[in-house]
């Protein structure tokens, strides 16, 4: 049952990481300029609340009460987290942060996942071609192109896309996630508008990770192609289709580890893409909350992003032994 122990260990590691990040965020908020919690409390008192009322109000807003012993604050904070309570927003008084973050979350995740899907399909296909044709111009250009896209900052891609396709050639709407003309709901106009507004951001997400897929696939395929067992398979007269399946299955392994990294890249990139395209997702939420100094919201968005990435990483870690028998029984 070594496999079960391995999986359990990875699960625990994931939980520990989330806990560490949550704690770090807690201490970060304490550190923020003017400790907004205290500032809020002081303001409440000025507005006529009694100290106890002010404390309770601040507790409701931030998830903890300043001036309580640190351990109490910390415990209170963690307890609320477990209940998915992220406190309340400063800028939008009274609105729970969890609500704000939850409404922004889908706009980021759906686009990011679509982007990953597109870039995976495209990147892996191009990577295989680059590997097979690696001694020629096609392979070289694909490799170089992939490497350049990989190294290119996401905002460069986003700006160029925006510029080219909304200003120079007005093919797509200039930002936003949906046109206000349509009523929200399952009608064609609304859905259609969402789609047209999503095309460019999805392309941006896709291009941001395309390079990683392409390069990893190419190097993985090249390495497998050079593996002894492929030559052995050919020398034993195996059918080309079977050999191709051998190659694919073996070359896919490293891509798994890339999946988690790609998600991390995407969330990092979402900040830029949503900023340029004015898309109401988590990235834009982070930026606007910095400008309005709405720290609970910043916290909440940040925490959600980190947790999503850690979860993705852990899932990938858990799935890997299931795919590679060599790891299973060590």
């Amino acid at each position: 049952m070594r496999l079960a122990r391995l999986l359990a260990a990875k699960l625990v590691a994931g939980i520990v990481m989330i806990w560490v990040v949550a704690s770090a965020t807690f201490f970060l908020v304490l550190d923020m300029p003017g400790n907004p919690a205290q500032a809020q409390e002081a303001q409440d008192i000025l507005h006529g609340m009694t100290p106890e009322q002010a404390q309770r109000a601040t507790a409701a807003m931030f998830g903890f009460v300043p001036k309580q012993p640190l351990a109490d604050q910390y415990g209170h904070y963690l307890w609320q987290l477990l209940h998915f309570d992220l406190g309340q927003s400063i800028a939008q008084e009274g609105t729970p942060v969890a609500h704000i973050v939850a409404s922004a979350f889908p706009w980021t995740v759906v686009l990011a996942l679509s982007g990953i899907l597109v870039s995976f399909l495209l990147g892996v296909s191009l990577g295989v071609i680059a590997a097979v044709k690696r001694s020629g111009l096609l392979g070289d250009s694909l490799t170089l192109g992939g490497a350049v896209i990989n190294g290119l900052p996401t905002f460069v891609i986003a700006i160029l896309l925006f510029y080219l396709f909304t200003t120079i050639w007005a093919l797509f709407p200039q930002g936003g996630n949906v046109s206000v003309v349509y009523d929200p709901g399952w009608n064609a106009g609304y859905i259609g508008s969402i789609v047209t507004h999503a095309v460019l951001p999805v392309i941006a997400y896709a291009l941001a990770t395309l390079g990683a897929w392409l390069l990893t696939t190419k190097s993985s395929v090249v390495s497998v192609l050079g593996d002894d067992f492929i030559l052995a398979a050919e020398l034993r007269g195996l059918r080309p289709l079977t050999v191709a399946r051998y190659i694919t299955r073996n070359a896919m392994l490293p891509l798994f580890t890339i999946l988690a990294i790609a998600l991390g890249l995407l969330f990092s990139g979402s900040v830029f893409i949503e900023d340029v395209f004015n898309y109401p997702g988590l990235g834009q939420l982070m930026i606007s909350s910095i400008t309005t100094k709405d720290f609970p919201v910043l916290d909440g968005a940040f925490l959600l992003i980190i947790v999503a990435v850690i979860v993705a990483n852990t899932l990938a870690d858990l799935a890997y032994p299931l795919i590679d028998p060599r790891i299973r029984r060590r």
Partner: protein
Amino acid sequence: MTGEADLATADALDRTGSGAAVAVRVQDLTVTFPTPDGPLPAVAGVSLSLVPGGITGLVGESGSGKSTLALTLLNAVPFPGHVAAGAVSVDGIGDVLALRRAELRRVRGAKLGYVFQASQNSLNPLKQVGKQLLDLGRSHGVRDRRALLRRARQLMDEMGMDAARVLASYQHELSGGMRQRVGIVFALVLNAHVLILDEPTTALDMLSQAAVLDIIRKVHREHHLTTLIISHDVGVIGDLADRMAVMYAGRIVEEGPTAAVLANPMHPYTRGLLTAMPRISGDIGAARPLPGRPPDLASIPRAGCVFRPRCPLATDGCAAAEPPDTVLLDRRFACYVTAGELA
């Protein structure tokens, strides 16, 4: 030729011993590789006939071209090399080098069995051995899966392996010796009558080496194979082969019955090889290594005898052109000086 290997009949044929042994003839083979100085031959004008029904040994240092020669027998010269001239004729197949891709694929594995130099990694690490065996059968149109597995089990039993366990294992769960034996099973399971083993003992410890050599001998006898063993280890060749050939810098410099060649080597290189081997008994100081280093593609002399830079008997006459083969009864060698002495 049909795509289906009839294993039941093959089994029967094996036992009765009918079915003539297969002859394999390499004729004037040259394989070149592109280099910054132009295309250079890794195998140059090699002619070699394998003993039908017997074991032929090929000895050479690394870089002598022996592995390239082995791969060429299956028309699998690694890119970017290619066959510049020559033919490989096999009874019942014709010239392997002239086969079209589909026929070539059918011949490989089913008629010509190849056991890999690095059998340590010759299997797909992600699939069980048994499943890969079935893949092999399917690729060659074998419809009776049970007969295939039965034959595999029989071969494994002959080699002293626990067939059930091995078939269910992944490559990384098998020891080096077992992987080598599995390699042999895969080469013979489709009833090929020609077996080519490239450095079958190199990656193994001494005990496994001895075991594998015994197995090769036994399997060769039981299934009436025509076997070619390639090794840098003269001891291995001396132990198993009926006839042996010595390869240097892409050329065959000497060939003949093993016992005769080892007792009375004609070519200076062969003599040097044998002198370099320390014996278990006797004066260890008697062993003397060959001077110089094995040549690589670029440093082989372009004119004259290729062994001249390291040869203790070299004369000016050796510089002009490559020595022709001198045939002496059932032996041949290529050396001006020895030929001169015998004349």
